[in-house]
Amino acid sequence: MPFDPHSIRDQFPILASEVNGQPLVYLDNAATVQKPRVVLETSLAYYEETNANIHRGTHHLSQKATAAHEAARDRIAHHLNAASPDEIIFTSGTTDGINLVANILTGSISAEDEILISALEHHSNIVPWQMLAQRTGATLRVIPVLEDGTLDFGAFQDLLSPKTKLLAITQVSNAFGTPVPVKDYISAAHAVGSLVLVDAAQSVAHKVIDVQDLDADFLVFSGHKIYAPTGIGILYGKTSSLENLPPWRGGGEMIKEVTYESSTYNELPFRYEAGTPNIEGGIALAKAMDWLSDLGLPSVAAHEQLLIETAAASLADVEGLRFYGPSHRQGSLSFNIAGIHHYDLGTLIDQMGVAVRTGHHCCQPLMNRLGTTGTVRASFAAYNTMEEVEKLVNAVKKAAMMLA
């Protein structure tokens, strides 16, 4: 039986709201997704029953909070199939996780080395590597994108060399929905001795991730893109890749002993969790991942796929409309209409209650490469329906007429 989005819509109170007198059609899920009641209630229940600062506390609530926090880590490790919960580090989001890795690698990179990223990356997976390159004198190289929005694997192979020390690559492009076969990239990069960081911000809500199967060294994502709150994220770090790296943020929790002269640092994962973490955020994130896994991630993904394909088929006859990305897309559908500014299109369809994102989607270099300043992007979640796709299509057609 295919997944029925109507069965879960009442778990999302915000979906019943109106925008400009029209029922809200929320198709900006790649920016941030709405949260089911069960996740919001998890945060609330935490504060009503458990809240205390974790670790080091002797008293009952502190022990209870610590247990809940560590149980969340275990659940998340389970969902990602990590070899150990110690490989799960709580961060404040994808950007934070990438910066963490880029900083602790500083001492492992020298001026002759190369850092490889792809042309599909989000600014958050570009700028930290630029800064690392600046700090170390290393060279930043970019895997080129083809006209259809996929990466050039052959060019990637040519770029690889023993100089390559790190590959940072997205599993799904946020601008175009391009799925990237990261496993192939990882094994090729490992063959030349490079570490690999996978940006799973756009994939984690749409496909089951198995970090051991991928054999990624690092993998990052944000809670707010997988039905959990903002301010929480995950850095998965393979023990063997992480254990010899230095700490980043200093503070409480991440140390074993402190004297004024020196400090000894704690074990993984605590070495990378300085200060009081986002305790209820971590618990809510585990709940969100449980919720999605209980719904059945593969059938949710198949449903989203159907929505994207239907939207693409229905928009195809709009004059001058161009899609970006390959015909098989994940999560997002990106397009422009010739002679019409994406900003104008977005403004008008927002007036009709349909929320999409317009602009460069934090991918300026990619937009430059494809000769545009931005696109209109509709992105989908479990709760989106066929009727909403129809509203999107009608809104785009009406707006196009007005702007023609």
């Binding site: 400009n20 019409i340 500014h341 994406h342 900003y343 104008d344 403004t347 008008l348 927002d350 007036q351 317009t358 602009g359 300043t373 931005g374 007005m402 702007l403």
Partner: protein, 151 residues
């Protein structure tokens, strides 16, 4: 759709205030946001495009997602504005200002009360970033007038 041209005008508006009033009257003919937007978009389409070689960085006012170019010239004591944007809606908004301020004296422009734009009801349908751009735009047009005021 009722086009503004169909509205009978008794006397030609001359002052900035009169032109503002005329614009408000025209917009008031429209009931829903679609028609108002269409009106603005059509104004944008009608605004003479600025020659590409004038679209230089020094004439650029950078907005959040769209770009606006503004140019002006001074003749016979009057300021003439030219403007363009890659966004049609933004261009329509500028066209509102151009229609009101074009061909006026620097002094009149400097003294003009630009809050009429709040009465158009358009702002409620604008993203705040766009509304900001409008304020920026009005400011820039006055800046240009200042440059001519001494001449």
């Amino acid at each position: 759709m009722l086009s503004p041209a169909q509205k009978p005008t008794l006397s030609l508006p001359v002052t900035i205030a009169e032109k503002q009033q005329q614009l408000l009257d025209e917009l008031n003919l429209f009931q829903d946001w679609t028609e108002r937007y269409q009106y603005v978009i059509d104004l944008g389409k009608k605004l003479a495009p600025m020659p590409e070689d004038l679209q230089t960085p020094d004439r650029l006012i950078k907005g959040c997602q769209s770009q606006v170019w503004l140019d002006s010239s001074f003749a016979d004591g009057k300021v003439n504005y030219a403007a363009d944007s890659d966004s049609l809606i933004t261009k329509g908004m500028i066209a509102l200002f151009v229609r009101v301020l074009d061909g006026q004296t620097p002094d009149d422009i400097l003294q003009a009360d630009m809050s009429f734009i709040d009465q158009t009801g358009l702002k409620e349908h604008l993203a705040p970033t766009r509304a900001n751009a409008l304020t920026l735009m009005a400011g820039q047009m006055k800046q240009h007038a200042i440059a001519f005021a001494g001449k």
